[in-house]
Amino acid sequence: EPEVTQTPSHQVTQMGQEVILRCVPISNHLYFYWYRQILGQKVEFLVSFYNNEISEKSEIFDDQFSVERPDGSNFTLKIRSTKLEDSAMYFCASTLDRGPQETQYFGPGTRLLVL
């Protein structure tokens, strides 16, 4: 069964450093998403992406965050200058199309720790 993959599985960085989290969505999917989950808390929507542009973003997704689809397979989340409170699990998801019949398939997540 096709799956969403994410790398790295764990990332430790120092405050103020830039990090890039990588995702490979399911190959024929067109819509991509990033979520984060601070330890022990609920999953929070960050951003959705379609046709090489952001469709929707939450209040969490400020100017420190950016997303890119640099090629036909990768979808990346960049945090320009990490803060301690960016420590969380970051999940990528993808769907074939938009609409309620489209199940979001989540990747295994990247655990980011900012020191």
Binding site: Y35, Q41, K42, E44, F45, E56, Y105, G109
Partner: protein, 113 residues
């Protein structure tokens, strides 16, 4: 000091019993709901969904009930198994709002053998 946010509601059941996990959603305009299961160290996994024009939907061993009057969603798991142990999240979506999905806080289900 206290660790804020680490104390999820918990439900502990005996293997073979039925489980009921509840969720209160916030947006009366939400018209699509999903239950996700999240096992330790993994991403959320789709279990079952329901549209707001329905009040009940059944899957394999799972049933979702929706009460729009009180904005309440429940997930019933029949004959709970140890493999069902996980955190369960409900999620709400306002349709055609770019699939912006909002998750609930989650409930940790523990199944005792």
């Amino acid at each position: 000091g206290e660790s804020v946010g680490l104390h999820l509601p918990t439900l502990s059941v005996q293997e073979g019993d039925n489980s009921i996990i509840n969720c209160a959603y916030s947006n009366s305009a939400s018209d699509y709901f999903i239950w996700y299961k999240q096992e330790s160290g993994k991403g959320p996994q789709f279990i079952i969904d329901i549209r707001s024009n329905m009040d009940k939907r059944q899957g394999q061993r799972v049933t979702v009930l929706l009460n729009k009057t009180v904005k309440h969603l429940s997930l019933q798991i029949a004959a709970t198994q140890p493999g069902d142990s996980a955190v369960y999240f409900c999620a709400e979506i306002v349709l055609y709002n770019n699939n912006d999905m909002r998750f609930g806080a989650g409930t940790r289900l523990t199944v005792k053998p």
